[in-house]
């Protein structure tokens, strides 16, 4: 059975080469037959990789220690679902999963484009085959998941206790789905550059892929934050670890891309910028993988030092040079012949929004790589941790909130001064009222003050958009609800996008609240002792010891009262995993819309006394609620039109006309 997995991997590697080879011959000879043959090779490659992944998954669940990978990542007492999640917990397994996803996405893209993008598709095939070959090369020659252990063992090393959390079952695969998904728009961008067809076709063809990848990357990042919050036990959700940064950077550039493509679709401008952005996004996903696999930058997520880093570096360098060559030799086609109608236009604000997003990505990249730069220049390796990133990114984040609010207020093409002033009156008034209100309520720090007031500004602009849209639709629809439903579902790209903005603002509320107003207190407690923090009274009731499936646990019981009201018992605990000789902190959280009470059990003495650390993290729940809204908005924005393509295009055309009519209507009203 195990041999089947190994054979599947090897044959898949050979078939990927074949797919690349026949794609290139097909391109050279302009022969459809070769391309059909490459499609079949991709199908077979996917099938073989599916067999390999099934074999590895089965070996993990059945604890077949014949394989080194299984022996290193599972143990006898590990529950089956965690054993299966070990598929992506280790280096070789996660790379196999990556290759399988890439093969899956490739055959979906081929199927989607059977009768369209006929000029681009051979090059898309070749690019995707090139990426697949790289990952299979790593698996076959450097980190083979089917390597045999060579001797018999009774029990495996077990899964890292940190990864034994439900969130960890979904966090890595969603991140990988996002990372791998960006290969598709990247392949189309490369195909567009090679064929010199750099108009908006490649963007339109990959819009849903980009949104899908962005959504999955977003979910992956949020799941990672949630996991860090409940599992790492330090009271926060984002530690600016290099690997966290590595997932955040392509998210930022991907977000910039999602905005700037609108200008290319409308004005046929920024071709070079959009092509560069998606190339950078893809390269950042590879850079993230390089950081995780190389061990060159210290990280809690790293898979340990290995020689994979150099191969990733080689792939990264080759991709950069090839992309640069293509961009430099296609400058004439990429040059825009159009102009902006006005400096005061939504197009301009989108570009400033891009500047901020790319600036944030650069700042994070700079901070992540600075330890290496410092070591190269001064010979001293330093650490760049949370204080640096918080200082650098907070003002950039505030500028981003500001632009999120400003963009929808300025018309596409050209905003008249009257229109500009009229649109700003209500949001700016809300901003000013919020600022005064927050100041009166006692908030004096400039960052939270600005952040909350600007969030109010942005939410007002979004609600105004919905209000104006519903009011315009009331001419056609029976009542407000139908108007709202039709507005949302007929113009889903636009209004889905606004819902995403609402989600992001809700998340910013949580981020601002928890970063600026968190409090903590720690105390050594004996039975009956009370720890007072803000309006909470925490009574220590004692500790209990018990066994779980794979750990010895000690748990404290804390009675919680808020303003005298009994809120029940909380049980922060510590789990000792004998196999890995690791102690894990399991926090207890009491959450509502206002704040989280977050309890950590520290050391426990023989007489039953315990060291308890309590955090009050205001507004954290808003981060998770915001993320649900964001996911909903993205799904609405990417939901396909059910009508046939022509009608769908007409609908999209109608949407554009409708948006322009809205702008016109507002201008007219102003006049």
């Amino acid at each position: 059975m195990i041999e089947l997995g190994q054979i599947g991997l090897m044959l898949s590697f050979v078939l990927s080469f074949y797919a690349l080879f026949v794609s290139l011959i097909g391109i050279k000879n302009r022969s459809g037959q070769f391309l059909v043959s490459s499609h079949r090779a991709f199908n077979s490659s996917f099938l073989l990789l599916s067999i390999s992944i099934f074999v590895l998954g089965q070996a993990l669940v059945t604890k077949n220690y014949e394989l080194r990978y299984v022996a290193d990542h599972v143990s006898n007492n590990l529950p089956a679902f965690y054993a299966f999640s070990a598929l992506w917990a280790g280096q070789a397994g996660s790379l196999l999963f990556w290759a399988w996803l890439l093969a899956l996405f490739t055959i979906i893209v081929i199927r989607q484009n059977r009768n369209k993008n006929l000029v681009l598709m051979p090059y898309v095939n070749a690019t995707l085959a090139g990426i697949l070959i790289f990952f299979l090369f790593l698996l076959v020659f450097f980190t083979n998941p089917f390597e045999k252990l060579g001797f018999a063992i009774a029990n495996g090393q077990g899964l890292n206790p940190l990864l034994q959390n439900p969130g960890m079952i979904f966090h890595p695969p969603t991140l990988y789905l996002g990372y791998v998904g960006f290969s598709i728009p990247f392949a189309f961008a490369i195909a567009a550059l090679i064929t010199r067809k750099v108009d908006s076709d490649w963007i339109t063809s990959t819009r849903r892929w980009t949104l899908f990848s962005w959504l999955l990357l977003t979910i992956g990042i949020i799941l990672g934050a949630k996991w860090a919050y409940v599992e790492l036990g330090w009271g926060g959700y984002w530690g600016w670890d290099p690997v966290e940064n590595a997932s955040f950077m392509p998210w930022l550039t991907g977000t910039a891309f999602l905005h700037s493509v609108m200008i290319q679709e409308r004005k046929s401008m920024l071709k070079i910028w959009n092509v560069s952005l998606i190339i950078i996004t893809f390269l950042l996903t590879i850079l993230g993988t390089f950081i995780t696999r190389s061990g060159i930058i210290s990280s809690v997520h790293s898979f340990g030092e290995s020689n994979l880093g150099y191969i990733f570096m080689l792939f990264l360098s080759t991709s950069i040079l090839f992309s640069l060559y293509l961009i430099l030799t296609r400058q004439e086609e990429l040059r825009s012949r159009n102009k902006l109608d006005s400096f005061l236009s939504r197009e301009s604000t989108f570009l400033f929004n891009n500047l901020i997003l790319i600036g944030a990505a650069f700042a994070i990249l700079w901070g992540t790589l600075f330890p290496i730069i410092s070591e190269a220049v001064r010979g001293i390796k330093i650490t760049v941790g949370p204080p640096f990133f918080n200082t650098i990114t907070v003002p950039i984040g505030i500028a981003l909130i500001l632009l999120t609010g400003v963009c929808p207020l300025i018309s596409w093409r050209k905003a008249s001064i009257n229109n500009f002033l009229r649109n700003f009156v209500i949001p700016v008034s809300v901003f000013a009222v919020a600022l005064i209100f927050l100041f009166v309520m006692g908030i004096r720090s400039i960052y939270p003050l600005m952040s909350f007031a600007l969030i109010a500004f942005v939410l007002t602009t979004v609600f105004m958009e919905f209000y104006r849209g519903v009011r315009a639709r009331m001419h056609y629809d029976a009542n407000v609800f139908i108007a709202f439903k039709n507005l949302l579902f007929k113009f889903r790209r636009r209004y889905g996008g606004f819902i995403v903005h609402i989600g992001i603002m809700l998340m910013f509320i949580g981020i601002t609240g928890s970063s600026a107003f968190g409090t903590e207190k720690e105390q050594s407690m004996k039975k009956g002792d009370v720890l007072k923090i803000k309006n909470y009274e925490l009574t220590f009731m004692g500790v209990d010891q018990f066994k779980t499936a794979n750990a010895e646990a000690i748990s404290a019981t804390i009675k919680v009262k808020r303003d005298g009201e009994d809120l029940g018992l909380l049980h922060p605990s510590k789990h000792y995993h004998e196999l890995q000789k690791q102690t894990m902190t399991e926090v207890a959280i009491l959450s509502d819309y206002k704040e989280d009470l977050y309890l950590i059990l520290g050391s426990v003495t023989e007489d039953g006394a315990a060291f308890i650390k309590a955090h009050i993290n205001p507004l954290v729940a808003w981060i998770w609620w915001g993320s649900y809204v964001l996911i909903l908005g993205t799904i609405i924005a990417m939901w396909p039109y059910r009508k046939k393509s022509k009608e769908s295009q007409m609908l999209q055309g109608t949407e554009k006309q409708y948006q322009e009519s809205l702008t016109y209507q507002t201008d007219k009203e102003t006049v």
């Binding site: 790492l232 036990g233 102009k339 901020i356 901070g367 330093i382 650490t383 949370p386 003002p395």
Partner: protein
């Protein structure tokens, strides 16, 4: 003038803000990394080494040492790597300054580029050019009229 305003706005937006605080374990630990090799900032680490370090810090605070002295003690022992962020001096200053410098410089060039790409600024340019041509024409006309008047006077 507009360009200057734009740069000033950007500078205002990105000005780092500082806050005063008293010495607590919590404040000191935010500046240090855990020494167990976990690569986590001390305040985010819950391992045994982190707990020992916190006790050490508390002991130093009890002795009357302030935040800077405690941090300096750790730097003497472990080197600069124990700090959770680069110092704001020498080469390390580059880490803090460069992102904002890049943002401001690129922002300035983007502003210039947008003005150049905009049709309305093209009209402005045309008007400016027209005004310049008109001014030259008027000047020449005035000179010739003056000459003419002088000639008549003779």
């Amino acid at each position: 003038m507009k360009s200057v305003n734009f740069v000033l706005i950007l500078i205002f937006l990105f000005l780092p803000l500082t806050a005063w605080s008293s010495t607590t374990v919590s404040e000191v630990e935010k500046n240090l990394m855990c020494t167990c090799g976990c690569t986590m900032a001390l305040y985010t680490c819950e391992c045994g080494t982190a707990a020992k370090m916190r006790n050490q810090i508390q002991a130093m605070i009890d002795k009357g040492m302030d935040k800077d002295k405690i941090i300096a003690t750790y730097v003497n022992q472990y080197g600069e790597r124990i700090l959770s962020a680069p110092t704001k001096s020498g080469f390390n200053l580059l880490a803090w300054v460069l992102p904002f410098v890049v943002l401001i410089v690129v922002g300035f060039f983007l502003y210039k580029a947008l003005r150049r790409w905009s049709i309305d600024s093209e009209h402005d340019d045309e008007e400016k050019l027209q005004t310049e041509v008109e001014a030259q024409y008027n000047k020449k006309l005035k000179e010739e009229l003056d000459k003419f008047e002088e000639g008549e006077g003779e």
